[in-house]
């Protein structure tokens, strides 16, 4: 079937199988491999993207369902070479280790901060509780999101490898 999905502000028209999951559309059709896949049961949240600004698990969403909606992936967080404060925060506060859950965590954080610019630690933990991180023990993720909340307009320092 023909679908048109807007990803990070760009329209993508493709002929896909009706059963194609959004996560595979993003990864295999568009080559946006920053969105990961980690379980079969919507438990792990490594596949989280934003649909019209709300976090959704792209492993549980058909591509067809996303048609006509605006999808934001991790590749869409950085704007004009400037990191989103959430990205900067994860670097500042060591909010990532292996990096596999990180894109989903950052997108949930972005959605949270859009809704609630000054969340409590409890609200942050609640917001990310549908996602699993096996490396960090979450405390530094909470601090990363707090950092982003405290630096909303920070001119991000360049994070170079």
């Amino acid at each position: 079937m023909q679908v048109t999905v807007s990803v990070n502000g760009e329209e993508h028209a493709r002929d896909v199988e009706p059963r194609l999951l959004l996560v595979h559309f993003l990864r295999d059709e568009l080559g946006k491999t920053g969105t990961h896949w980690g379980c079969d049961t919507s438990n792990c949240g490594t596949c989280v993207v934003l649909m019209d600004g709300e976090p959704v698990k792209s492993c549980t969403l058909l591509t067809a369902t996303a048609a006509g909606h605006e999808i934001t992936t991790v590749e869409g967080l950085e704007r004009d070479g400037v990191l989103d404060p959430v990205q900067q925060g994860f670097h500042e506060e060591h909010g990532l280790q292996c990096g596999f859950c990180t894109p989903g965590m950052m997108l949930t954080a972005r959605a949270l901060l859009n809704e609630n610019p000054d969340p409590t630690d409890g609200e942050i933990r609640e917001a990310i509780s549908g996602q699993i991180c096996r490396c960090t023990g979450y405390a530094t993720i909470v601090r990363s999101i707090r950092w982003a909340a405290e630096h909303p307009a920070e001119a991000a320092e360049e994070v170079a490898g």
Partner: protein, 786 residues
Amino acid sequence: MATIEDRPIGFGRLKRKEDARFIRGQGKYVDDVQLPGMLHGAVLRSPVAHARIVSIDTSAALQHPKVQAVITGKDLEGLGLAWMPTLSADTQAVLATDKVRFQGQEVAFVIADDRYSARDALELIDVEYDVLPAVVNARKALDADAPVIRDDKEGQSNNFIFDWESGDRAATDEVFANADVVVAEDMLYPRSHPAPMETCGSIADYDKVDGSLTLWCTTQAPHAHRTVYALVAGLPEHKIRVISPDIGGGFGNKVGIYPGYVCSVVGSIVTGKPVKWMEDRSENLMATSFARDYVMRGEIAATKDGKILGVRVDVIADHGAFNATAQPTKYPAGFFHVFTGSYDLAAAHCSVKGVYTNKAPGGVAYACSFRITEAVYLVERMVDVLAHELDADPVELRLKNLIRPDQFPYENKTGWTYDSGDYENTLRKALDIAGYDELRREQAQKRERGELMGIGVVFFTEAVGAGPRKHMDILGLGMADAAELRVHPTGKAMLGLSVQTQGQGHETTFAQIVAEELGIPPEDIDVVHGDTDRTPFGLGTYGSRSTPVSGAATAIVARKVRDKARIIASAMLEVSAEDLEWEKGRWFVKGDPEKGATIQEIAMGAHGSVELPEGVEGGLDSETVYNPPNLTFPFGAYICVVDVDPGTGKVTVRRFIAVDDCGTRINPIIIEGQVHGGLTDGVGMALMELIAFDEEGNCLGGSLMDYLIPTALEVPDWETDFTVTPSPHHPIGAKGIGESATVGSPPTIVNAVCDALKPYGVRHMDMPCTPSRVWDAMQGKAAPPQ
């Protein structure tokens, strides 16, 4: 504005170099690799735990328009690849030929144009099974009427794998016979799973023309894997390139070689195209390396005033259907014999019996250095059991028995030499942070009101950095690691490592070691790993061995470069090398500090036209292989506070204090992160995570809906601190830290839960302490979880 504190040239709180790609979604994991013409594989797995295969009909699958090939065990038999050696020198079926021996075992491999079609075709394969009774409980594996699982092995007439012991049995028996107090406890360290967020997978690309194989693979040990493939498949080793790109967490799960990897290789050879195989989460949980599964009976002997005299342990080790555990050859139970813990004992003995069951093979790890997790759990629970019997304070009991600083290097009763420690200092620091006495007062008040609060205390000693080659090898490969340092003419450098990060931050930490030794800024050092074509040979990352082994290799190779730089500087400065003195980043003339050359200037000089002394070659590159003289022995004091809901049995971890000592601290940010992650593993194991089976051998933990992993809501904000007792034999005094918290935290939490349940007379309960199991314990019905 960056300060020197933010950007240390050497050890310190340097933010990670590797973050740049990960925060942009630009990490490159195995499943992100797309090759032209690539096909997709999927594995058909056994639905039953034990059955004879009557027939396999693949004809319908082959009719599928997008299927390119279907491979069965019979096809592999023709190639001599139906079985492969395990890391414990047993054999494991790649695809089953005669029987299936656990639920989820690999039976056939479909190769199709896309991943959905490959999965569709699995449904079209018809396998007829003749179901056999299954052995699930390790305690019953050696019963006379137990079905024999490994009838493929000549001479195997039961489910016995090995008997192994350590310590002095007679001396220990004597100590026990004469002790005032002897307490015994049966405990199970249940089966759990590392479950990294990225599952396992591979892409094999075989080039028929030149006979070369490139294998992208989720492996923690790319070099060891390459050698095993060469030995198994008969492919020449120099024609195999293993690339382990970014790895989405390993925790031991990615140490082993899985049938799926081999199938992707065979698939590429058969089809002539690259073949990708990525397992799904159920496959990961049901078929790849589990962890633990130790059935233990511990006994502890003491005087009536609490001097611990000895510990005695009997273990039945459940190794599943194939003995695929990754332990050094000499030690089939890994380093379990470090169960003497942090205490000065008169005698100790353990015996371990390995058995086959109809469960998944592996037993590799889960952030555990070779069975030390089980050992620490055993001894730390036993000390609390003793405290319960003596009605002693668990802290006082530990303080009375800890090895004293003046006893190091300390030889324990099972043959280990602990390198360094100041245990009491570390424990007291944890007690101060926790406010231990105040916590006990709060607990007493709460108990009067019927509230259940528990305080758990643990002191653990780890043994990491395997290991000295005369004692430790895996499949005959000595457990050494190499480092190669290339210094380019402009003074920028490349460090090649045989170890492989899975999130531990090697690209930062190892650059810092070079920076500390040579004064080259970390951002000028590219750390290369995970590619056998670009890095020197070594055994890889597991068992917290990267810093103890490769960290040492890195320091030594940097020192070799520094020594060479001295000779080159002496030629450049026209003074004798003996007259030069080093300060970080620069050789200068003694007594004339203005006259000198920076490492960058020397690098250019090394490649330039300066006349060098007779016999000295140009360039600064160097390579070394490090054979550790001993393991390193990090340690820590952990305190946990839990609240148990008396109405539901639900345990809440309110506080967790972790004071770790890993010797010299290279990057405290990364160390803290490693500790946080391990503590969370501990909450998982102690309260939630369990791979259980029913009587027929059906896996009951085969998805993340059943195998529960902590989220941000189940863990507290960790309280971490540290002491520093350098390792005397490590070049920079560092010890491993990756697994300390995973080792130390489960018994801390269980000690806290049992402490909370003391009013109910609970002395011990097995993990996981789920609400229903805690509730059972409160009713006096504590039982193992299977």
